[in-house]
């Protein structure tokens, strides 16, 4: 586990760069959520394709500030309902695959108990409509061998799964015109 002091110190060192501070532990976790939406894939993609537009459809976010558009290295700062902020950065953007890949750039372990993640969200045709798949590879907040309950693997899995479920629900409602 990287000490809080060194995280703070490193954060100062990387201000303005694309690098991430990641208190990785040795056992990564995974989460994957899918939802079907009664709309053509192009319409669903339209709703999510702007990296900075997540605040338009994710009900758990109160504010999103983005920089850099859809270019590799673009960032978005998410303010969660609990008031905490985390920063994500864009790794890959593909119109052709209707897919976005991004990672956690600046963690906030009290607001979102995950120390690092790399995620993908993509849209594909399914049964006359669309299916959106959102997946994550992540590490718990406290990567020592004795994490407290609110910062262990289970807490990280729950936070990620809940965040994806709420987001996909919000996206579905918005695209299907019920949001």
């Amino acid at each position: 586990m990287v000490s809080t002091r060194s995280i703070v110190l490193s954060l100062f060192l990387i201000v303005g760069s694309v690098g991430a501070v990641s208190a990785h532990g040795p056992t990564p976790q995974k989460a994957e959520e899918k939802i079907t939406i009664a709309a053509p894939p192009a319409k669903v993609w339209e709703a999510i394709k702007e990296f900075g537009s997540i605040g338009n459809w994710h009900p758990e976010l109160t504010k999103v500030v983005s920089e850099g558009g859809n270019k590799e290295g673009a960032t978005r700062t998410l303010t969660l309902k609990n008031g905490g902020t985390i920063v994500e950065s864009l790794d890959a953007y593909s119109e052709k695959d209707m897919s976005i890949e991004y990672r956690l750039l600046k963690e906030n372990l009290d607001a979102f108990p995950v120390s690092f993640y790399s995620d993908q969200i993509s849209v594909r045709p399914a049964d006359g409509g669309s299916e959106v798949e959102w997946s994550s590879r992540f590490y718990r907040a406290d990567t020592t061998n004795e994490p407290p309950e609110d910062k262990n693997d289970a807490a990280a899995v729950k936070a990620t799964t809940d965040f994806f479920k709420a987001g996909l629900g919000g996206l579905k409602a918005k695209v299907e015109g019920k949001g």
Binding site: V2, S6, G19, P26, T27, E101, R103, S118, T144, N145
Partner: protein, 319 residues
């Protein structure tokens, strides 16, 4: 006998690459963290032939010089699990403490183990069964590489963006080499001239001259390079790009990118078998192994495996 050899050669020329390689097989070992299984793939059939059940959440492993034994790190309990690869079963556990992560076995019966949270490399002597040194290195040491003669140990310090070089006689760090952001995996070329380092966060590959111990060049990879392997004949460097779901194949001499091959989801460790014809890639998220034909650059098979494959090593040749 000569006739037979000629016959084989003639057959090999007309056959496809996979059939030509069918004379010998090699065991390819895949460590699956979530299922706690060491799976064994037969390189002739590309099927899993054995699944050795381990305990806990094993992260990484090393093979001894004859590939008769595997040493598996257990970061969550501070132990090394010993696996007899002939009997294909666990024969014991070594207590090293801390969060052991990367591991290599030396020709003279030592295990070098990185301790992720203590920022140290532990040196364990197998003959005496005791820890003989604990060497401070950079922050969050991940994978290790040992020179063939066992003289130099290279440590990827993920959080200090550097490689620590340890002299195995003095058991001290003799040099720290700055590389890209978040170096995680590394490998020596088979001629021992270069050390190849994959820097996860900067998406670069650093080439270090193993004699002068300095970075000679840096090359772009795809997003989040997590694994490095070099073919035995020194022709090819392979880098797995975790966030990109691909493997980049570089010419080892010129370090130019030859091609990118799409593999499964979130690939990590990978290995090239002895004859240099095929590579095996652990796709962590999709829990399968991509088999890449290195003569054509095509993914020829995807083998379903137990959950959480993270590391692959090629074992001994079998006939």
């Amino acid at each position: 006998m000569k006739l037979l050899v000629a016959l084989f050669a003639a057959l090999a020329c007309t056959a496809v690459a996979t059939q030509a390689a069918a004379e010998t097989s090699q065991s390819v070992y895949v460590l699956c963290q979530d299922a706690a299984v060491l799976a064994v793939i037969n390189s002739k059939t590309d099927e899993i032939t054995e699944r050795v059940q381990l305990a806990g959440k094993p992260a990484s492993f090393a093979l001894d010089a004859t590939a008769a034994t595997a040493y598996v790190t257990q970061p969550e309990v501070g132990e090394i699990t010993i696996v007899d690869l002939k009997k294909q079963k666990v024969t014991g556990n070594l207590r090293v403490g801390g969060q052991p992560f990367g591991i290599v076995a030396s020709p003279n019966g030592r295990l070098y183990v990185s301790d992720w949270s203590a920022d140290r490399v532990t040196v364990f002597d197998l003959k005496s069964g005791s820890i003989i040194a604990s060497i401070p290195v950079g922050k969050s040491p991940a994978h290790l590489a040992l020179s063939k003669n066992g003289e130099l140990l290279f440590v990827a310090n993920r959080e200090s963006n550097s490689i620590s070089v340890i002299d195995s006689h003095k058991l001290t760090v003799t040099k720290e080499i700055g590389v890209g952001k978040a170096p995680f995996a590394l490998a020596l070329t088979s001629d021992q001239k270069n050390l190849v380092v994959a820097n996860v966060q900067s998406a670069t590959m650093s080439i270090i001259d193993a004699a002068t111990l300095s970075v000679v060049s840096t090359h772009q990879t795809r997003a989040m390079p997590y694994g490095v392997a070099v073919a035995k004949d020194n022709s090819t460097i392979l880098i797995s790009n975790q966030q990109n779901g691909s493997v980049s194949i570089f010419d080892a001499r010129t370090q130019q990118l030859r091609e990118d091959v799409k593999v499964g989801r979130y690939p990590e460790g990978l290995a090239v078998i002895h004859d240099g014809r095929k590579a095996y890639v652990a796709n962590w998220f999709s829990a399968d192994i991509s088999v890449i034909d290195l003569t054509t650059g095509a993914e020829i098979k995807r083998i379903k495996c137990p959950e959480g494959p993270r590391m692959v090593l090629a074992g001994a040749l079998e006939r």
